[in-house]
């Protein structure tokens, strides 16, 4: 390994990056666009559910229930007129997600101590959201019912009933339960994976296409030096992307960074190196830039997006798919990112993730260097 040759490759590659303003802009803008898109548009939180209430009872009791819906941050009551037909139409037009129907004899039943019923109509097309909205509505109705019962007991001069069980929930991390606090750290993994695999995948294929590879191979440059020199240049670019993502995530979206900043830098560097090696490996295997581009897109973006646990919980996947996620490096990086950002944990917890990422990077680099040597011979 000669530092002189390594330095020459690194400088040259850096010049390529700087001389291609379009790619450079893309490399720095992709993270911004993705963060803005996902940070603002993609929220997995269910709140302000558009709700219609059809009150047939029109009694103080029914109005008290409606007030509860109005007071909750999970619901926005946007319609109280029109009855069943209007609720159905609203759901058909996706204007409404929830319809609450309070029947005529609601207060009568309550007064007589009989079971009073409230009907909840839900748009089930997005089953996840519907289930969450139904859960919120049910617990709201249940709380109202418990308060009514307690009030009735007090009115008769009796003591309030203690609930036999009372779950006290204390959310330890991300206590506001905001999905962006979870999404944005994961998104950093996806961004780094895409950027690094995309940029590097073209770099070797381009040298084959323009014929400069042949010239390089006639010089004393060794395959490992060529790869490492190129990696270093793109590494700088990747870390710049990381910085952009970090500034946006912390500054604009207010994601908390509870753990160590330097641990975050360490994990990003480790992951970035592996991802860059992956791009280089693709580039050595695919001789045309087009093929390299497509292969890197499919093999980096999709696993990082779908199988890393960034969007979809790995525990909910079929067992076979769960096993597949074990070889997706982004999975380990997402775990590390969420651990560092939200839980503030350190190496004592994340050493396994670090170890995997380290082995992955080493393996892919060796493979790329060997592939390169084969191709030369």
């Amino acid at each position: 390994m000669s530092l002189r040759r390594l330095g020459a490759i690194f400088r040259k590659e850096g010049l390529h990056i700087l001389r291609d303003p379009r790619s450079l802009a893309a490399a720095l803008l992709v993270p911004v666009v993705m963060l803005l898109l996902f940070g603002y548009a993609l929220t997995l939180d269910v709140d302000r559910v558009p709700t219609a209430i059809h009150d047939l009872d029109r009694s103080p009791a029914s109005r008290a229930l409606i007030e509860r819906f109005r007071g909750s941050r999970y619901f926005t009551v946007i319609q109280q007129e029109g009855g069943y037909a209007a609720i159905e139409e609203g759901i058909d037009r996706s204007r409404l997600l929830l319809g609450v129907v309070i029947p005529e004899n609601f207060s009568e039943h309550l007064a007589r101590g009989e079971e009073a019923r409230v009907q909840l109509l839900l748009d089930g097309s997005d089953s996840n959201t519907a289930a969450l909205a139904a859960g919120y509505a049910e617990s709201l109705v249940l709380a109202y019912s418990a308060d009514r019962r307690d009030a009735a007991l007090r009115a008769r001069g009796m003591k309030e009933l203690e609930m036999p069980l009372d779950a006290r929930v204390r959310v330890l991390y991300n206590h506001e339960l905001k999905s962006k606090n979870f999404i944005i750290p994961g998104l950093i993994a996806v961004i780094l994976m895409i950027i690094s695999a995309l940029l590097t995948s073209l770099t070797i294929a381009r040298e084959w296409e323009t014929g400069t590879m042949e010239q390089l191979l006639s010089t004393p440059v060794r395959p490992a030096e060529l790869l490492l020199g190129k990696l270093m240049a793109y590494f700088v670019l990747g870390m710049a992307d990381m910085a952009v993502a970090l500034v946006l995530g912390l500054g604009l979206f207010g994601v908390p960074l509870n753990g160590s900043f330097w641990l975050l830098v360490f994990f990003s560097a480790l992951f970035l190196f592996g991802a860059l090696c992956w791009g280089i490996l693709i580039s050595t295997v695919a001789r045309s830039q087009l093929l390299a581009f497509q292969a890197s897109m499919v093999s980096s973006f999709l696993p990082a997006f779908l199988l890393s646990g960034f969007m979809y919980a790995i525990e909910n996947m079929p067992l076979i798919v769960q096993q597949v996620t074990r070889i997706v490096p982004a999975r380990y990086f997402v775990t590390a990112l969420q651990g560092i950002f939200l839980k503030g944990v350190g190496m004592e917890v994340l050493w396994k993730e670090a170890l995997f990422l380290f082995i992955y990077a080493g393996l892919v680099f060796t493979l790329a260097a060997r592939k390169m040597r084969q191709k030369i011979a």
Binding site: G7, A8, L15, H16, L217, S218
Partner: protein, 250 residues
């Protein structure tokens, strides 16, 4: 180690690509300081032979030594001793003239203090001193070609391989390029140059005519012409050699 007398030596060199025999039993020796021409039509196997000699391709059979090093066994040592310029003048278009020189100086491992001196020499030699900051993409063919040659000899290699360096440039640029080749040979370098221009044969000390992977004639241009009869041109030599070859291997 005293330099062996032959700069390049091959013995029964063969390169097969599947069923196709690109290089067929090529045996030749090039002396130090010689300008050795490799002549033949496109597809005769000139480039393949040069690429084997530069350590870019493994031979299928036979032996080849460059600067005393076996190309198949010690390609790294071979690469230290040669400069290679491929048909495509492989420079980086998005780098300036000076940056290309700096880059190749680095990958050839030229020491930092020597690099400045060599860069100046190459700029002067190529006549690009005034355009050192120009983007390589903006250079005309002849300049690019001289820059490519300059980049290939930054590390002062004893042997230089030039694969059709003059194809696609105008006659004046070709003439100037040959002046550079003479300059290098005068400086003690061995120059191994391939071409498909017959008139360029006259510029070489010795030539090998290549046809369908075989060397069909080998010698000084004047000798070859005289052997063919009075007033024979290089074209006549080539045609006669091909006819004899076809008669031997129909």
């Amino acid at each position: 180690m005293p330099p062996p007398e032959a700069a390049v030596r091959t013995e029964g060199l063969v390169k097969r690509f599947g069923d196709f025999v690109a290089v067929d039993q090529v045996t030749l020796a090039v002396q130090r300081g010689e300008i050795f021409g490799f002549l033949g039509p496109n597809g005769a196997g000139k480039s393949t032979t040069i690429r084997i000699l530069c350590g870019l391709l493994q031979p299928s059979a036979g032996r080849a030594e460059v600067n005393g090093f076996d190309v198949a066994e010690t390609p790294e040592s071979v690469k230290q001793s040669i400069g290679y310029m491929s048909q495509k003048f492989s420079l980086y278009d998005d780098l300036t003239v000076e940056e290309n020189i700096g880059f190749f100086g680095g990958v050839y491992g030229v020491a930092a203090e020597r690099r400045v001196q060599r860069a100046e020499y190459v700029l002067r030699m190529a006549g690009l001193a005034d355009q050192r900051g120009a983007m390589t993409r903006s250079l005309a063919g002849g300049w690019k070609q001289r820059l490519a040659l300059g980049c290939a000899i930054l590390h002062e290699p004893p042997i230089v391989f030039l694969d059709e360096p003059t194809s696609g440039v105008d006659p004046i640029a070709r003439r100037r390029f040959w002046d550079l080749i003479y300059e290098m040979a005068a400086g003690g370098s061995t120059v191994f140059v391939s071409t498909h221009y017959m008139e360029e044969a006259e510029y070489c000390h010795r030539v090998a005519l290549m046809y369908r992977g075989r060397v069909i004639a080998l010698g000084a241009p004047a000798e070859l012409r005289e052997a063919e009869g009075p007033g024979a041109t290089m074209d006549d030599v080539f045609i006669a050699s091909i006819e004899r070859e076809e008669a031997r291997h129909p």
